[in-house]
């Protein structure tokens, strides 16, 4: 058997394709440069080629592909937001996600589990009903369910009234899903590279200057490049990169931590979220419980883990799933979230011409990857802000027209 395997390995005709084409040197000029090789930047690159035939594009990533928040989020996809602007945007994203695996030719393990947002107070019930009404008006599958229905949907949930915060009901969103976040980035990257788009890893932008002819010059650790248009998609470093371009953003950088348990037998079908208890949990296909809580209480650029976080989270987890008391936490990590004052993203035009921004994705960025990539590509290609994206422009703060998104996760309201 080992000999047979060796023979198989050495035979030329069985050699597999490279997933990504070979490395190419950085050139001096591009039509579009995308700063940030995470899900959003790679999606933008893919849609630039697919929808607009623009392939003279460089994606500049300071680390490795999808090494930032694309690899650190908890992979939940849903569209049951509170504001019509937000719900419409995320619903379009879910529509794109459903056919994405086939389009990209990679298994995204897109798994529709149903999403339950638990309500523990009358105020939370009221907000849930409000969200359900907004969602239904926009054609999104979302409803308020009571305790009996909840016991059927999630029999493992502790519905005892003899706890600190008894569950009164939940907002139920049947299409709520989880997906393999790395695969989303890899799929987009591969398709983008097949169209001739260059992806440069270990390439950090450390200076931005705009020229009189409208082009933008980027200083990188591998030399300068000039691009006709620049898209910035660097969640977690948005303020620092925008500062190089002379742009000030309404963003605070706050760590958001998450952790996974050891693998357990499959028992949890839906994704369970509780805003009052600051926790959310889903069970991955490997059986690990993927758990997260609230963002850290102060701004920070360090992705350290804290015991405060795990302790606080587990106190609440055990109230909802007491039988997990002996389960162990396997890994814990943090990502830096771009928190905005209204819990909505900041996308679109900036005061710098031909410099477009995709930022402010706080705790809600992964689910928006396809629609945001497509909209940013349209903006970079046409110079016009797509209608879906218009409510989220940076300019909204000067008009005092915030999109107060109380349907956002991991944030206190």
């Amino acid at each position: 058997m080992p000999l047979g395997l060796l023979k198989y390995t050495l035979q030329r005709k069985y050699q597999g394709d490279r997933y990504f084409p070979a490395y190419r040197p950085l050139r001096g000029t591009y039509d579009v440069a995308i700063i940030g090789g995470g899900g959003h930047g790679l999606a933008c690159a893919y849609y630039l080629a697919r929808d607009w035939g623009i392939s003279n594009v460089a994606v500049l990533e300071k680390n490795w592909l999808a090494s930032g928040n694309t690899a650190r989020n908890t992979a939940i996809i849903r569209s049951n937001y509170l504001t019509p602007e937000g719900a419409r945007f995320y619903e379009e994203s879910m529509r794109l996600y459903r056919s994405l695996a086939g389009e990209l030719g990679i298994n995204l393990m897109y798994s529709e589990r149903g999403h339950l947002t638990l309500a523990h107070t009358d105020a939370a019930i009221r907000i849930s009903r409000w969200r359900a009404e907004v969602n239904q008006y926009l054609g999104i599958d979302s409803e308020l369910v009571g305790r009996r229905e909840l016991a059927r949907l999630c029999p493992e949930l502790n519905l005892s009234e003899d706890v600190h915060h008894p569950v009164l009901g939940a907002l139920y969103h049947p299409p709520g899903a989880i997906a393999r976040h790395d695969a989303v980035a890899w799929g987009y990257a591969r398709r983008a590279m097949e169209s001739g788009i260059e992806i440069h890893q270990q390439t950090e932008v450390n200076g931005i200057r705009s020229h009189d002819d409208g082009s933008v010059e980027l200083q990188t650790n591998r030399g300068p490049i000039t691009a006709g248009k620049v898209v910035q998609a660097v969640a977690g470093a948005s303020s620092e990169v925008a500062r190089m371009a002379g742009i000030k953003l309404p963003i605070r950088s706050v760590p958001l931590q998450a952790c996974v348990s050891e693998p357990l037998k499959p028992f949890l079908d839906p994704i369970v979220v509780s805003g009052s208890l600051h926790m959310y949990v889903s069970q991955s296909t490997r059986g690990e419980l993927v758990m997260g809580g609230a963002t850290d209480p102060y701004p920070l650029y360090s992705t350290r883990s804290t015991l405060d976080f795990t302790e606080g989270l587990m106190a609440n987890m055990l109230e909802l799933f007491p039988f997990l008391e002996n389960a162990r936490v396997m890994r814990q990590w943090a990502g830096i979230a771009d928190m905005t004052p209204d819990f909505s993203p900041v996308m679109g035009m900036t005061p710098v011409s031909n410099y477009y921004i995709d930022s402010g994705w706080g705790t809600w960025g992964f689910k928006a990857t396809p629609v945001c990539g497509r909209c940013m590509a349209e903006l970079a290609a046409t110079g016009k802000v797509p209608a879906l994206m218009r409510p989220f422009e940076l300019e909204r703060f000067n008009r005092m027209e915030q999109i107060g998104e109380r349907g956002a996760a991991s944030v206190g309201h």
Binding site: K248, L249, I251, P297, P299, L300, S302
Partner: protein
């Protein structure tokens, strides 16, 4: 950053405090709406040493913290009067 040295109460557990964001200079009443929007919504959000408003919740005591947002180290804490007087002396207005 588990203990914060409150100028009024001495060293206390960090969970007793809230962070209210960077020290900013308020624009004059007659300033343009964009300057007000800048003051209310926009942030320097520096990676490095910043001056921030913090509050010890139990005693409602507001003070200034100088800390490094890259390393999570607190350099100093001061009563606001002392800090703001220092700012006037040096003529520096913003936290930059």
């Amino acid at each position: 950053m588990k203990i914060i040295n409150c100028p009024l109460n001495g060293p206390r557990n960090a969970q007793e405090f809230i962070c209210a964001g960077e020290v900013k200079k308020e624009p004059p009443q007659e300033a343009a709406i964009n300057d007000w929007a800048d003051f209310v919504f926009l942030e320097n959000n520096l990676k490095g040493v910043v001056h921030e408003w913090w509050c010890h919740v139990a005693t409602s005591y507001w003070f200034i913290v100088t800390r490094d947002t890259a390393t999570e180290e607190i350099m100093a804490t001061y009563p606001p009067a002392e800090f703001l007087a220092g700012q006037r002396r040096t003529g520096g207005a913003d936290s930059e």
